[in-house]
Structure formats: C-alpha cells, structure tokens
C-alpha cells in the first residue's frame, strides 16, 4: 500500500519526479521552485534516477533544452515559477505547438513588478493561452498526484500536449503536510515507458521539427492543436479513473464540495480551496446552504461541466488570485461567466480578486464573501461586480 509521509509540496513533487525518472531535466533556480530541482539534482548525483540533468544558464535555456530533449524523443521535464516562466515565454508556446509532452511543475508566485516572491496565480494565468494543459493543486498530495497523472495525459496519443502542474508558492511548496506516496515500482509501471512517435533520434526515419509554416498550412496545424486540447478533456478523466484504481484517490475536472443543494457557492483554485472548505463547513453548521467548486483543470476549461454544476444556484462568487487588468475582472471570472451565458436561471455572479502577492487569505475573508452572496440572494441586487478582497483603499 501507499507510504504515509510528511512532506512539503516541493519535496513531494521532487519525489514524484524521481519516481517518473525522466530522461532529461533542465532547470534554473528560482524561488519558490528551486527546491524541487535542487532535491532532484541530489537524486541525479546519487544515482537514484537515470536522468541527464542540465544546469542551464537561464529559464529560456531550460525550456529550450527541454524542448530539444523532447523533440529527440526523451521524456523531458523542467520546473519554474513566476519570472522564470515569463522568461521561458517564447519556448512555452513552441513546446505546445510542436506537440511535445513535456511536464512542468510551476510553483505559483506573483509575476514582477514590483518584485515579490509570494503566491498568486499571475504567472500561470498569464500562460493560459499558451496551449498547455493546466492543472491546479490544493495541497502537496494533489500536486504529487497531478504530477504523475500529467505524464500520462501529456503522452496520450490523442493529446501530445505539454502539461503544467501548479501549486501555490510557499503555502503548498514550503509547508509540510501528511500525505501518501505510492511505491516506486507501482508508479514506474503505471506511468509506463514513453514511446515517442517521430523522434529526432530515429535516424533511419529523419524528420524536421519546427520548420517555417506560413499561410498555406499554419491554420490547419493550429486547428489540430486546438483539437488536441479538446481531446485532452476525456483523456484527463480516463487517466484520473485509472489513477484512482492505483491510489484510491479520485479526481475530476473540478471538485464539488457540498455543492449539490447549495444556494450560494464560490469557485476557487489552489490552496484557498482548503480554507474555503472549512468556512463552508461552519456555514453549513449554521444552516446556510453554502457550497464550493474547486477548479482542478483550468486548461482545457471545463465550461459545459461547470455550467451544469452551477446552474440553478442563486449566487456565485469567483475567486481570482490574479488580475487581468482588463478593467472588468480577473481571468477565472471571465471564463466562468462566459460558461454561464445562456444557462437558464443563471445565478448572479460576482468576482473577488484576492491574495495578490501572497496577501494572506483567512477564513474571515472567505466568510465575508459568502455573507456578500447571502445579501445578493436576499436583495436580488449586485452592489459590486468586482471586489478586491481585504484591500486598503
């Protein structure tokens, strides 16, 4: 059976990488991700993995080396945070459009400036249109579980897309929790061997990767990329089902917490879901019909499924841990409200931007959101469509 351990999120993900035993890892240090690849580098040095570890001179090179390795037919990984992801930008898009099944843990941190090293989702939310599958984690256990599943999702022949597995910087990455690891052999068998389709190293069947692709075929290739993301949704669910058999832990596109009969609910990603669940529990004890929907898979966005889950509720608050600076809302709100368009008896829906730059989010903050929703239900009026939670102004 599985192994009960106390691990930080970074340690858990490093253990997961060890069990996956990728062929190549290329990485550059950045807080709060550094630990993942640093721990992993000790596995390399001590012969615990067969990985070629490349200590590149920047994140742009880290993603480039990963793309090179993956094109050659290797199972390749890297990890980063915030400005590291931003520096990778050019190659992040290329990894997706070349259909390379790279898996990358991203430890969420506020994107500069001003310089900040603490958690918000501005880094990965900025990359939401890069063509990567994006999976968010609530705690170290989920980060580990999502990482292992990511390999199978990425390498599925119907997908062949890179996958970002995120966890909240410091809150998950550096906090220790009790969790369960699977046995090494079990993981290796479940993850399986990667058999690339057209690797550069297959010298008998030479291929060209990444050539110029102008107006004659570029649009068709982009359409194929879009199709892969559509196909990813059923694959993610199949992989989750199979992973449940292995681990006993079940995952979907999102998690519904006391949502069935809820009248008011919040939509949230990452570690704040844990805080919010405690608030829901307390509210339920007071007879308030509160619920929660935690988005696990943000790309592909499960619009239809979320609309079905939220339809019939009276008021919904979307929690955004980043801002779109579009003068309307955060990115998650835009997606959720768009998903709700045309839904009969659609609930009132409001946005909360919270936890920017690591600003602490307490149960009282979340409680105030549910209080606002209760007021909206009572009065039928939305006073504020967008609230910056706990802001001094």
């Amino acid at each position: 059976m599985s192994i009960r351990v106390a691990k930080t999120g970074n340690e858990a993900v490093a253990e997961g990488m060890r069990q996956i035993n990728p062929d190549v890892v290329a990485a550059y240090p950045i807080t709060p991700q550094t630990e993942i690849v640093q721990i992993f580098s000790s596995f390399v040095a001590n012969g615990k993995v067969d990985t070629e570890f490349v200590t590149v001179e920047s994140e742009h090179s880290a993603m480039s080396a990963t793309v090179g390795a993956s094109s050659a037919g290797a199972r390749a990984m890297t990890a980063t945070s915030a400005n590291g992801l931003a520096l990778m930008w050019e190659i992040v898009y290329i990894a997706a459009s070349m259909r390379l099944p790279i898996v990358m843990p991203v430890v969420n941190r506020a994107l500069s400036g001003p310089i900040n090293i603490h958690c918000d989702h501005s880094d990965t939310m900025g990359a939401r249109d890069a063509g990567w599958v994006q999976i968010f984690s609530e705690n170290a256990q989920e980060a580990y579980d999502n990482l292992l599943q990511a390999v199978r999702i990425a390498e599925d022949k119907n997908v062949l897309l890179p996958v970002m597995v995120t966890m909240d910087g410091f809150i998950i990455s550096h906090a220790m929790e009790v969790m369960h690891l699977l046995e090494d052999e079990k993981v290796r068998k479940w993850v399986g061997e990667y058999v690339p389709e057209n690797p550069l190293l297959d010298v008998d069947n030479p291929v060209t990767v990444g050539p110029l692709d102008l107006y004659d075929w570029n649009m068709e290739h982009k359409r194929q990329q879009a199709e892969a993301m559509i196909q990813a949704k059923p694959v993610i669910l199949e992989v989750a089902k199979d992973y449940a058999k292995l681990s006993g832990r079940e995952y979907g596109l999102f998690e519904e917490y006391m949502l069935d009969d809820a009248e008011i609910a919040i939509v949230v990603l990452g570690s704040t879901a844990g805080t919010a669940k405690e608030v829901v529990k307390a509210l339920r004890a007071d007879g308030v019909k509160a619920g929660l929907l935690k988005v696990r898979v943000f790309r592909p966005f499960p619009a239809r499924e979320i609309a079905a889950a939220l339809g019939g509720k009276k008021a919904i608050a979307v929690m955004d841990r980043s801002d779109s600076f579009n003068a309307v809302s955060g990115p998650v709100f835009a997606e959720v409200r768009s998903a709700m368009y045309g839904v009969e008896n659609a609930p009132k829906i409001v946005d909360y931007i919270y936890g920017i730059g690591g600003r602490d989010v307490t149960m009282d903050h979340i409680k105030s959101v549910y209080d606002d929703l209760a007021k909206i239900v009572k009065t039928g009026q939305v006073e504020r469509a967008l609230t910056y939670l706990g802001i001094r102004e």
Binding site: I30, S42, A45, E57, N83, L87
Partner: protein, 274 residues
C-alpha cells in the same frame, strides 16, 4: 577628512538582508567610498541591479536606483545611459545574475563600450536560492547542485570582458577593500564600459558547504590566494591553480558609445545642412 558615506544610505531600510560575514557589505562600502571621493552629486548617480543577493544593494542606496529582472540590469542601464548620458550609471550584479543569465548583455555592453560601470559581486555561488553552482563557481568546488564537486569550468570574467572590448577591467577581492575602491573609482571615471570584479565570500552557502571555515578565515584565504597581475605573469599555470589574480588588467581610452553616438548626431546635422 574623508567624506562620510552615510548620506548615500537609506538607513530606514536597514537591517539589510545579507548574512553575517557576507562580503557584499565590503564591496558596497568600497563603491560608496569611491563615489564619495569623486564627490558625485546623488542625483547624478543611478544604480541599477538585477536579481540576487548583490542586486539587493540599490534598495539601501540613496541614489536614483532601479531594481530590475534577473540578468537584465545592464540592458536597463544601457537605456538609462542613452536617455541621460550625463548620469553616472552603475550596475551592481552578481555572478549568477551577470555571468549566467545576463552574460549576453555584459559582453555586448563591453563590445559597444557603453558608458556604464559594472561592479560584479562574485561570491562564487547562487546565494539567494541557497547555493547552486554558478558559472563562477571554481571547478571541483561543492554546491547544492554539485554534491560531488562542480565538473564545469568557471569563466575568467575579466578576460571575457576585456576580450569583449571594455575600456576598463580590474579585479580585487574583499580582502583588498581600498584597492577595490580605487578600481571602482577609476571605473566610474572612465567614459567607456568599465568592469570591476569584486571577489567576495558567501560563508553561508559556499563556505559552509566547502568547509572554508568562518567568514574571517574565508577573508584570510582570499588574501592569501591573491596574486597581483605582475606577479602572476612570472608564475606557470600549475602555480596559479586556485589563485585569484588581482589588479588592473586594462585601462583604455577608446571613445565610449555616447561619444561615438554624439558624432553620428553631428554628422547627421551637417548632412541635413543645419
């Protein structure tokens, strides 16, 4: 009586983040004493940094300061210098920031002979992220990412920058604080690209892992291992192994980029008949 450096410090942001025994304070002190001797007005100095332990310095300095992204300080500084050539633009950078992720900007600023002074705080390690080896970690030394010793070779930054075309190139360790300060002073005075490598020490992540003793012992070691450029010229490579060559390696007077650019403006004006 030397001018006090206190007026250049934003003491309200103290205490600083550097560990006890860190060499960065000595480098910063040398820089400020150079500025004091040159008696530069605070408003005529702009200090630019990237990311890392060294790059935290501008936060404590009461000049015009700009804290930028990892490795890019020299690129930002180039923009500042071009926008306001009268400013004394000083970049403070580390070995990870300036030699790894920002190495390209460094060599091209040197090639252009851009009028920027760069002081590289070389502590041989990525300190801020807990001690990964950098391009200036000497071969064989231990680091978080090199538990059995670093197999990579390290750059000689002074040779690199000299070969790239800089007007002024010098190196001293934090065990030669006065010399270091003199080099920084001459660097600031030079109108072209000027580079001073300040070899320091990171007792927390480099020293501890390599069993180099206390910060004081590390300072002693730096002093003991320093060889002047003149003395080094008489030694063979085997004798120079593990030594740090200090001194001024190049003092040139090639026109800086700003002077050349002013020439372009003059020629363009003449061509336009103005």
């Amino acid at each position: 009586m030397a001018k006090s450096i206190d007026e250049y410090l934003r003491t309200q942001f103290m205490p600083h983040i550097w560990c006890p025994g860190c060499g960065h304070g000595i480098v910063l002190n040398a820089l400020l004493r150079a500025v004091a001797r040159l008696d530069l007005p605070k408003d005529q100095v702009c200090v630019v940094s990237g990311i890392g332990c060294a790059s935290r310095a501008p936060g404590y300095l009461d000049f015009n300061t700009l804290h930028t992204t990892h490795g890019r300080a020299i690129a930002f500084a180039t923009g500042i210098k071009l926008a306001n050539p009268d400013l004394h633009v000083i970049v403070v950078t580390g070995d990870g920031d300036g030699a790894a992720i920002g190495g390209n900007h460094l060599i091209h600023a040197a090639r252009r002979n851009m009028g920027v002074t760069t002081v590289m705080f070389n502590n041989s390690i990525y300190g801020m992220t807990n001690g990964q080896y950098s391009p200036l970690t000497p071969s064989g030394m231990f680091a978080a990412t090199a538990p059995y010793g670093n197999v990579e070779r390290n750059f000689d930054m002074c040779e690199l920058v000299r070969a790239s075309g800089a007007n002024y190139v010098a190196r001293a360790t934090v065990a030669q604080a006065r010399q270091l300060s003199t080099y920084i002073e001459r660097a600031i005075e030079n109108p072209g690209f000027a580079f001073v490598e300040a070899v320091g020490s990171c007792p927390t992540y480099f020293g501890r892992r390599n069993k180099l003793g206390s910060s004081l012992q590390m300072l002693e070691t730096l002093k003991k291992n320093s060889v002047t450029a003149a003395a080094a010229a008489k030694l063979d490579p085997a004798e120079l192994r593990g030594k740090i060559i200090i001194g001024e390696f190049y003092r040139g007077d090639a026109p800086g980029y700003i002077e050349l650019y002013d020439g372009v403006i003059e020629r363009a004006k003449e061509a336009a008949g103005k």
